[in-house]
Amino acid sequence: MTATSPPSPTSLPSPLPRPADELARLEAAWTPPRGWKLLTAVNNTYIGIFYIATAFVFFIAAGILALLMRIQLAVPENTFLDQGTYNQMFTMHGTVMMFLFAVPVVEAIGVLLLPNMLGARDLPFPRLSAYAFWAYLIGGVVFFGSIFFGNAPDGGWFMNPPLTSYRYSPGANADWWLLGIGFIEISAIAGAIEIIVGILRTRAPGMSLDKLPIYAWAMLVFAFMIVFAFPAVILATMLLELERAFHWPFFIAELGGDALLWQHLFWFFGHPEVYIIFLPAAGMVSLIVPTMAQTPLVAYRLIVLALAGTGLLSFGLWVHHMFATGIPPLSLSFFAAASMAVTIPSGIQFFAWIATMATGRVQLKTPALFVLGFLAVFLIGGLTGVMVAVVPFDWQVHDTYFIVAHLHYVLFGGMVFPLFAAFYYWTPFLSRQQLSERLGRWVFGLIFVGFNVAFFPMHITGLAGMPRRVYTYSAGLGWDSLNLVSTVGAFLIAAGVAVFLIDVARNFRLDVTNNAGNVWGAGTLEWLPTGNYSVRSIPLITSHEPLWDQPGLAADVEAGRYYLPGTATGRRETLLTSALDAKPQYLLQLPGPGWTPFFAAAGTAAFFLLLTVKLVVPAILGGVLAIVMMLWWMWGSDPGPNHAPVDIGGGITVPVYVTGPASHSWWAMVTLLLVSGMLFGSLVFSYLYLWTVSPRVWPAGGAGIPAPVFPLLAAALLALSSAAIAYASRALRTTVGAGHRGHTMVRISLLAALPLLVAALGVELYGQWQAGLRPTASSYGAVVYTLSALQGQFVLVLLIMGGYTLARSWCGLLDGQRRATFDNTMLLWHYAVAQGLVALLLIHGFPRTFG
């Protein structure tokens, strides 16, 4: 154990009595909007609840689709659904469950719980959370609505080309998936950046990495997995949409493309996605089990190792979804080996939970029942996972109902059971009263029995040869009664969910301030007395379960005896601490309610969704609205040192503004650069992959490649633009306040750097065009122009950010101290230049070397 001695009552940071108006001022700063202005809410409590409710609605909607499919399959040769509708339903069921329910709901629970669990007032970018939510809500509703017009995607949730390309799916169905889901993934990345910076930088003093709640560790790994996994599928959707819209042949074999490229990119995201869903659920279980057993979690360190190990090794499993595609046997075995290696960290967690339950005395309340259900169901899913990791076995059951059974045991067992456990466990944190124990047992019983009745027979159905995604089957194949049993089970699950909804309607009464409280006797910080501002004062943490190990903590926190017992600046604020040891660093001023996230999200959704139906001009207007709203919200977010350093108690004085590597915005930008790097890395992989399978379309001996002067000139222009930004950074360092000569140099440098960046892109594109290369001619042309197109996206973003930075300089909002805006622009600028240089080296150097 890493517990250290709690502070004695006489040595607490903020002495009593507290000033009379201190609590009132804190409450006033955090007053939530009312009525229709709830649309402007940004703080994590409201956004978290909106998010969870929306995700659960999508869970029910996708569940209804599943019931309709089960009705269709209940008897052979049924005509309840026609083939086309059935195709849309299984595609939407999988897509909605994965993208509109599973990932958003675990992210939402993180947004809701993490600030309280970490002792923060809010996450560091509340408007980003709000933006991510509204983009998801609007996009998700429109996307789901496509099924009511018979226009929903119908190519399966993994959308394999060539089926989903323009030749075999000419309608807009596939475009809904590519553009609709594509931008919802962007909202997931926004949430991940928020969670990473929140966990690493907004923890209560003393909550060093070794005292981080396991759930926060799980969410940290989860968020990094999103950062590394999602860019691959974003790139895949971009490539397929480029092929569908402009006939750039990435996946068309006769023009040098390869359909398997899609599968590589999709499953590089798709397999980690399983763990992206599972790890947060495992994190929840790691908090629920100790509370239910009233004993600390066994093997904290090993569980941290298991979370990190699972997250890491899950990136070596993607080909185990492609065992039947003709990949060399030795290559398959790498993935089979990694698939088995990942069972080690999963096993560590399992045994730790069992050991914790054995160490304590488990109260068999509803959350514990769902955890036990999770252990049983997920274990079966894990074991069948080991079976399908064996290549020859996988060949026998690939695309059969055995896989349907396996994936539901993993996903429903590994995520939905813990989710219901979490609903019952954390409701007292949100509601005036907890959910009913009696109804909860019914919910568990119906879902547990229903799930096994529905899905266990599918193992046998699959072994008997029934393929996935068939809308009907002939009688007498031995599948009839098994399918009927599965349908009965599905309706039992639905009955369980219905009882849960009744329970929620009868007992859930949202009230964070006057919640039911710590009814389970839990040890983590989210069970401290709370308000819209999270905790009254930010505690000093000395162990993993502070409420168990620090007597009187709740009362002292509520009395304001710890850090920052009020609002120091009169605004919303939270304490930023160091990543490793959680020492106070500075006070971050947070924004209050506002319309900009809502309208920015609406504009973003309009841009992507209107493009889907080819309304280009309105789509562009939506995009402009989104950008204007984002710039508007950004304008006030770099306040500079506008307040004297503040005393947070205990003799600690912290600044209210910092720049450079200690700044939260720096951390967010670096995380964004990781996302960008993965996106670019995925494109480089695509280039090399296409060269591997189709060397015939690559230029031989340097013929057909632009003359060296073009890439050399483009590289020089890129380097010069970076140099101009570096010079601007130095010049800015010397400026304090307006009127300094350095400001002129900053503006001149920025004004010079912008056209240099554009010119470099122009030179590269002109060189390729005049050399006769066309993106529609071959996969080589397509991938070369896509490298430039990706660079063009960065150039466009930097034009906006550079112009915005200039505007702030002209308005006197930028100087040597107030430079977070410039720093962010600079980081992205240097990254884009580095990316451009690597792209030039690849495009011009690779064919000359290996052609």
Binding site: R301, L302, S578, G650, L688
Partner: protein, 121 residues
Amino acid sequence: MSAVATRSASSPAWRLWVAPLIWAAHFLAIYAFTALSCARNVATASWLGVGSVTLFIVAATLAAAAALLVTIGLAIRDGIRARTSPAPTAFVHWLTAAIGSLVLLAVLWETLPVLVLPVCG
């Protein structure tokens, strides 16, 4: 809790990324080399009777294992030295060594098939 921290992160935390990066580099290298050898029909090349793919994979594994052993060793050494340091530092050293050990196991495990399976089928 007496002082405001002046650094955003202590350096040991960044070492947590070393073993994962080694694993990723090794995994990508053996996968890419095998795929390319099969695609270009050069997997039959050999040296002293040992196939080129086998040689490459064994060499890559030895290099990765050596790098991992150094990482683990340094973490254990620094962990021992940090016994009097704050708990978070010791924890990070432990985690670095533990992740390195898990990764070493995975690297060896992923290499084993090359000893028993045909390369390109």
